[in-house]
């Protein structure tokens, strides 16, 4: 049984947020990446899975349980954590508070356990430890991305969905973020990764899907996708048919 399985999911109304029958699966322990141009529907796919948008039809199963139409709240409680595009750090809360709130889906957790998890999070991202008590808005984009991922991990997710973690980051930071993603998987968390930087994404992924205008057009392991004409086009941001 796949950890996550989408079958014929449609959602959205306008062309930018429309999904026209998406079927995909993520197996336990994989890193799966979802590629595609701006506006292809990658973000919508994640938003639909995490319950921010309601699908119009189709089924979404997480650990065998139907979650299509459930609230975002209920879905994250099942262990499916979504780190959305743009990082969305609470600007008025400190880094430590931001990360701690990541555990909100776990019900009552003893303080000692939270502290252990917090320490572990700072262990993965030692660079943000020195900002632990700074308000979220004072951090740079890269640091905020690390806080966002750390916050997502505090949910102890079985599946972590990351939306464009490299967005607006300097190349060297991007490499660091991707190393961390690989590391997170090595610790046992499955990852569904949405990226525009296809090359980086495919360098750590087990499999990938390519979306175009709300439809999946190819699926396969990195080597196959890198060889694929459509992917090469999509990864430079869409195609223009030859005249």
């Amino acid at each position: 049984m796949a950890l996550l399985e989408l079958d014929g999911v449609t959602a959205g109304y306008t062309a930018v947020d429309a999904l026209n029958g998406i079927s995909l699966r993520v197996e336990d322990g994989e890193i799966v990446t979802l590629l595609g141009a701006n506006g292809a529907g990658k973000t919508t796919t994640l938003r639909t899975i995490s319950g921010l948008m309601k699908p119009r039809s189709g089924s979404i199963r997480f650990m065998g349980q139907e979650i299509a139409g459930a609230s975002a709240n209920a879905i994250v409680r099942l262990g499916l954590s979504h780190v959305p595009e743009g990082r969305r750090i609470f600007p008025g809360l400190t880094v430590r508070e931001n990360i701690l709130l990541g555990s909100s889906n776990r019900g009552r957790v003893p303080r000692a356990e939270l502290d252990r998890d917090l320490e572990a999070a700072f262990g993965i991202f030692p660079d943000i430890l020195k900002f632990a008590d700074s308000p979220g808005w004072t951090l740079s984009g890269g640091q905020q991305q690390m806080v966002a991922v750390a916050r997502g991990l505090m949910a102890r997710p079985k599946l972590l969905m990351l939306d464009e973690p490299s967005l607006g980051l300097a190349p060297i930071i991007v490499q660091q973020v991707f190393r961390t993603i690989a590391d997170i998987r090595a610790r046992g968390t499955t990852v569904l990764l949405v990226e525009q930087n296809a090359h980086m994404a495919l360098s750590i992924a087990d499999r990938g899907y390519v979306l175009e205008t709300g439809r999946l057009i190819v699926e396969g392991p990195p080597a196959t996708l890198l060889d694929n004409e459509e992917v090469r086009a999509a990864y430079l941001g869409g195609r223009v048919t030859a005249e």
Binding site: P84, R88, L93, G102, R151
Partner: protein, 291 residues
């Protein structure tokens, strides 16, 4: 000679009432982006519950206060589900009108139940007050100052030191992200309404012995509290408190030295000047330009 400290004392006392109601405005505004026009009526309801309990039913005064506060919390939750929650996905105008409707409903509901005659409540403390250095410290004003200070301190501890406080803050900063983390957003908003109703109710209970308890007692207080929260920088908690206190002082001094009939105007004159000179308020950030 003791005129100035005396006025300062009275002004801070009245300002505390504005501050409490302003705080209620700000908390609801931050959680929902809507100005609650029925905020003042929370004070009115609080005061009337006291009249019912302490005068009509003869419940011991301090027990009545506790029951009234608890009732206000429940009332806040009810208010949320009746007035805000069904409209939460709408733009702000329908919600504003809905709160206006609620205000009419509450005032006239109480009117129908209680008639138009203003009620009065006895002072809450058994002694009139002290005289310190020529300044008479009225016991009711003292009580108002102490309770306000305690509430603000408690609120600070609650928001800064508890996970629930952090979740409320997170909800007011980014509802969608909060829901992605598993924070029950609807519950958080319900709690915010409950707490705002308690703040308004406490303000009403505290001010009741100084004024008559009437169905429109909340309207004047609410307008001034609203002015106070704008002067402080709308949406800012510290601003609401400082704005409320400042307004109370300005008004008291204005009445003493300039004009009694125009006492209620000073608040709005100050508001006017502020909006011209520094529209973001004392503590507000500069309005962000965003494309």
């Amino acid at each position: 000679m003791s005129m100035i400290p005396q006025l300062l004392f009275t002004g801070l006392g009245i300002g505390s009432i504005y501050a409490l109601v302003a705080l209620g405005f700000v908390l609801i505004y931050r959680a929902t982006n809507v100005v609650n026009f029925a905020q003042g009526d929370f004070s009115m309801i609080g005061a009337f519950i006291m009249v019912v309990l302490a005068i009509d039913l003869g419940v011991p005064y301090w027990i009545a206060v506790i029951v009234a506060v608890v009732t206000m919390a429940a009332f806040g939750i009810l208010f949320n589900y009746g007035v805000y929650y069904p409209l939460r996905h709408r733009t702000f105008l329908p919600v504003v009108i809905s709160t206006i409707g609620a205000s009419i409903l509450l005032q006239n509901g109480v009117l129908a139940a209680y008639g138009p005659h203003p009620q009065s409540l006895p002072p809450m403390l058994p002694f009139p007050g002290f005289t310190v250095g020529g300044v008479f410290l009225d016991s009711q004003y003292l009580l108002i100052l102490v309770v306000t200070f305690a509430l603000v301190a408690l609120q600070y501890l609650f928001f800064e030191r508890t996970m629930l406080g952090k979740k409320l803050q997170a909800t007011s900063q980014d509802k969608e992200m909060a829901s992605l983390l598993g924070i029950p957003v609807a519950l958080m908003i319900g709690i915010t309404f409950a707490y705002s109703a308690v703040l308004g109710g406490v303000a009403g209970i505290l001010v009741a012995p100084l004024l008559f308890v009437s169905i429109n007692m909340g309207s004047t207080i609410a307008l001034k509290a609203f002015a106070a929260s704008i002067i402080g920088g709308f949406g800012d908690v510290t601003g609401a408190i400082v704005g409320g206190l400042a307004l109370g002082v300005v008004e008291t001094f204005g009445a003493a030295y300039i004009s009694v009939p125009y006492k209620d105007g000073f608040a709005f004159l100050v508001l006017f000047l502020f909006l011209m000179v520094r529209p973001q308020g004392v503590f507000g950030e500069k309005v962000a330009e965003k494309a």
